[in-house]
Amino acid sequence: MAISTAAAPRRYRSLQLGRLGRLPIVIPGFLVVWSLMVVLPLLVVVAFSFFQVKYYKVVYQPSLDAWISLFTSGRWLVAVRTLRIALTMTAIELFLAFPFGLWLAKGCRSVPLKAFIITLLTIPFFLDPSSRTIVWRAILGSGGLINSGLMHLGVINAPIEWLLYSEFAVHFGMIGSYFPTMVFPIFMIMSLIDDEYLQASADLGASPGQTLVHVIMPLAIPGVMAGIIFTLVPLMAAFVEPQMLGGGFVNLLGDSVDSALRELKYPTAAALSTVVVAILAFCLLVLILMTRKRFDFANMFTATHR
């Protein structure tokens, strides 16, 4: 009797886990919940941009009001500005990250130094964005570190005003924030390039430059693309930097979405969000078409994730 009562729950438990092991419910269940949390909200946003607001209530009638007001109110200029700043910053990060990723993967021979640098690059993902950004005010402001230092040295007589609350300040503040997302994929793909390829290329008489252009660059394309995507995506919705360092002069899509939601203009906010997603989809498409000949996308996911 005692044996059977002890054995029954265990058998039941192992039966349950055995089912979980083969997982008839986990994946479908996860997909349903995940779709409700992620996919459906995104689809609803696109749909919402075609409704209108009357007396602070959403009227479920098809309408292009939100899209028309996007153009008449000049908010589309914000989208263009956001795209320009996002692309500029992506180019700057790529310029900084590609040589560095190559050096870190192939040039840096000291393992502790490599681990130290990777640690330094990982930590920023977990830091509070607003307190990191607000410090730039103390550095760039008209009474801040750079201006008072330069004035003390006698280089300038009056503080340089464009250092803070300008597009320059926003760009400057973004350099550090968006660097790790660009450098990590590039570093990883560079590490995967076999050293013997580089040796073979040199043995066959290629100069380092030729090795770079004909061997390293084609092999590094997936990492570079992943870096561009992971940097461009958050840049398109940058919010903290323009708000804290732009001083109201650098209005980007993030602020527009925020202010539209505050004014209860839900369709406008939805249309702006749709613009962000559409621009990103377009950029992705262009990137894919540009590199399709050199690189097979279907293999990217199967190769990296088993």
């Binding site: 979980l20 994946i27 997909l31 919402f48 560095f100 919705a237 199967t302 088993r306």
Partner: protein, 288 residues
């Protein structure tokens, strides 16, 4: 055609030009300093990350933080911080939220990660689960707000912050578990069964110890990502305030609150930086 003398001359001119170009190119590309240039570019970017953080700590003990000049030094901002106390509740909420998100991430990522590695064609599920990585945080926050508040007319609060944090943290947690789980040799499980282990023992004694680094990583990532999440929380917070929202609101609106924010951020950094440094150092040193 082969014996065409003009063609030969063209070819000779071509190789000559190529030689000329090649020589400069070769000299330029053979320069040994390129590695150092790459290193310096990266160190510049890393300095752009850590100089503000160092200044944050310095400014928190200086008289007038926004002037950028550290002297005279003072601890008065920490005193104000301690007597203020409004930040305690947001901090408490953020810590609890982080722990809950961490444990949920560990559980879900383990279940789903194991399942994905046992699928024949995991591509579709993988892409769907990684969608949030490709959607800007602010867009995701606005989408969740419009869906939950405007369309479903629900009362937002800590639960919706939790949903937003899960949307953000789970893809990372899943990737971490997948990296470990995809290296897992399924024959080990067969061996365990052959030796008479039941499913429960097979999981706890064979599979879990091997997956543990990935699961622990998922928990740590879950906590840290949730603890610092701002862009999504802003929209779906309802009346609630977490630590990053508190910092953001104070920094964005009230100049007089900035010194207190500096002090608070410094304390949080002093606690989290050593923990993170040791954790990642151990993680990457092993991997490297």
């Amino acid at each position: 055609m082969i014996g065409n003398p003009r063609l030969q001359r063209l070819a000779r001119v071509d190789t000559h030009q190529l030689d000329q170009r090649g020589r400069y190119w070769r000299r330029l590309s053979g320069w040994s300093g390129w590695g150092r240039v790459g290193m310096c570019l990266g160190f510049f970017a890393i300095a752009m990350i850590y100089v503000p953080i160092a200044l944050l700590a310095l400014m928190s003990i200086s008289q007038s933080p926004l002037s950028g000049i550290p002297y005279p030094l003072t601890l008065q901002h920490y005193g104000t911080l301690l007597s203020d106390g409004r930040w305690l509740l947001p901090l408490q909420k953020s810590v609890i939220m982080g722990v809950v998100v961490a444990f949920t991430c560990m559980l879900v990522a383990t279940l789903v990660g194991r399942a994905i590695t046992r699928m024949k064609r995991p591509g579709g599920v993988l892409i769907v689960s990684l969608i949030p990585l490709f959607v800007p945080g602010l867009t995701m926050g606005a989408a969740l707000f419009i869906f939950l508040r405007t369309m479903l007319d629900l009362k937002l609060g800590l639960w919706s912050i939790f949903v937003a944090h899960m949307v953000w943290a789970l893809p990372f947690a899943l990737l971490l578990v997948l990296v470990v789980a995809s290296r897992f040799d399924l024959r080990l499980l067969e061996a365990a069964s052959d030796l008479g282990a039941n499913n429960w023992q097979r999981f706890w004694q064979i599979e879990f110890p091997i997956l543990r680094p990935g699961i622990m990583g998922a928990g740590i990532f879950g906590f840290l990502l949730s603890f610092n999440e701002l862009l999504r929380s802003i929209f779906v917070r309802g009346q609630e305030t977490t630590m990053p929202i508190y910092n953001w609101a104070m920094a964005a609106s009230q100049q007089s609150q900035v010194p207190i924010i500096f002090a608070l951020a410094t304390i949080i950094l002093l606690v989290t930086l050593p923990v993170m440094s040791i954790f990642f150092w151990l993680l990457f040193r092993k991997a490297g």
